[in-house]
Symmetry: C2
Subunit: 333 residues, 2 copies
């Protein structure tokens, strides 16, 4: 029953109707985030750029859209038992916040080696920390135990139709705020954000073009697109700590079918984009939040004749949760 | 004739009708800046805060509103001769940008000791730099010479009804975006911003309360309010380099009559507020942009029973033009 409730009526785990349902469900909970523009960045990129600033979403990242859609999709009995996840990043904090708003428990399985700031963020929103060893088997074992003990519903950070539908609400807002947009550049990690954004955007404007942006040091999506199947990497190495996940079986088909290409960028390009966000846009973007700007400024993008005619580019600034010291250290490198 | 055209019909140099005229004149030129809210900052301050982010205005500060209103108020003959000012800060850059949009020259008199970044900012928007010695007599002499040579219209950074009216358009937007606001906290320097904002806000909602925020190291407005006349200081010392000007004869009467009180804060409080803007709000604010948050968090504000009932507070984040190195150094102090 749960698997069924996660599925949309169409060929993917979400579609425009589940995204519109999500929007109706969460629009009083989420911030309608602003779209910023900058003549200076337009001049540098040679395009009209529209920055959809999800760093101004509750919790500082787009994740609250999917999390709140998932939490508020549950019926009262399911909800009363709580929700559980094992992401230690923005999803966990967003889930804790959504659960707090519904008045239900949120259990977050966190490995003992997780950064203190991420643990604090989950606690700040009232999430209940459950420690695991820093291995995937331990993490899953602990999550299973909590689910058996509590009956809590597991909410995956991205491979879930409810999550994908929640993230897709970004496109409903953005294409109303800037209907002239002819291309979207979206960070890709597990694919929850880009799949929701692509499904909604293509339903609204079938001619719109969707590009993914990914770090070279974690280019599993680029490799997956090239191979025609999900590729996982033995190791990853990038400053963009929000972009380390691999595609899931619900998100991959959307990425395969609707995402035109994956632009990979170096960490140095991400750092430069973070700096431009601070200096010119006046926005604090985490590395994964700045990668869309890095992509549009990259040679890969600028020199590709296929994208020459895309003049109005929407860029999803996915989040702003970055430790100031880390930010500064990376800008100084 | 020029003095007359600068005057509104009422007792001040601007009024709600000149502000509405300014809005009609500039609304297609300026950004309607977003209003951000943060549950975390609400919790810290004990109020509902509404951040009107003029750091997202063109040129990175509210100054473009007044500058564009002044430039587009000129008749074609006046305009063709250009405009001139001797501010080297945000006003000069804003005036250069407004002049560029109208296709007329902007002359900016800058002392030879001005910081390179400010000079660059003026050049970037096409302003014509005219150097002066770093003294007020030299600056005025050079400006007079250019005016005689070119016939350019002098646009004062704040003591001008057109400037005050342009800045007042902030209130028209903000009180539409968040009509529940019952108090505004506004940075004060020469008074162009706060006088325009106060005139418009009081016309829309006579019960709204207006507070000014000022650095302790440049507290001429607090002293002026106490004395009942314009006080100028022999010297000033604050990190808030945008708040060093003294009130003018057009702005002072509005400040005297409509501004309830001036809250002064230490530089350390401003720095803490800049940090909160970065970490929690994800916004880059210059020191003068963060001073409103510093004021609402100050003991002076928090402990004053007169303001206890103000629950919905609009804070004008006036600008975001800060050198990243300077920003970081000040955060580390």
């Amino acid at each position: 029953m749960e698997a069924e409730s996660q599925m949309a009526r169409g060929k993917y785990a979400a579609d425009i109707s589940t995204i519109k349902e999500a929007h109706a469900r969460i629009k009083s909970l989420v911030h309608k985030t602003p779209v910023l523009t900058s003549e200076s960045l337009n001049a540098i990129s040679g395009r009209q750029l529209y920055f959809k600033c999800e760093c101004y979403q509750k919790g500082g990242a787009f994740k609250f859209r999917g999390a709140s859609n998932a939490v508020f999709s549950l019926d009262d009995e399911e909800a009363s038992k709580g929700v559980i996840t094992h992401s230690s990043g923005n999803h966990a904090a967003a889930l804790a916040l959504a659960a707090k708003l519904r008045g239900i428990p949120a259990y977050v399985v966190i490995p003992t080696n997780a950064p203190a700031c991420k643990v604090e963020n989950v606690k700040r929103y009232g999430g209940q920390i459950v420690w695991s060893e820093p291995t995937i088997p331990s993490r899953e074992k602990v999550a299973d135990r909590i689910m058996q003990e509590t009956g809590a519903t597991f909410i995956h950070p991205y491979n879930d139709g409810r999550i994908m539908s929640g993230q897709g609400t970004i496109s409903l807002e953005l294409l109303e705020q800037a209907p002239q947009i002819d291309m979207l550049i979206v960070p890709i990690s597990g694919g929850g954000l880009i799949s929701g954004v692509a499904l909604a955007a293509k339903a609204i404007n079938p001619a719109i073009r969707i590009l993914a942006a990914e770090p070279n040091g974690a280019d599993d999506s680029a490799k997956s697109k090239a191979a025609g199947r999900i590729i996982k990497l033995p190791e990853t190495n990038t400053i963009a700590d929000g972009l380390l996940a691999f595609l899931g079986d619900f998100t991959w088909p959307v990425v395969r079918d609707l995402v035109e290409d994956v632009i990979t960028v170096e960490d140095s390009e991400i750092i430069n984009a973070m700096k431009l966000c601070l200096e010119i846009l006046k926005v604090v973007a985490e590395p994964s939040g700045a990668i869309g700007l890095a992509a549009v400024l990259s040679d890969t993008f600028q020199k590709n004749p296929a994208w020459k005619d895309c003049k109005h580019i929407g860029i999803i600034v996915s989040g702003g949760n970055v430790d100031l010291d880390v930010l500064w250290d990376s800008l100084k490198k």
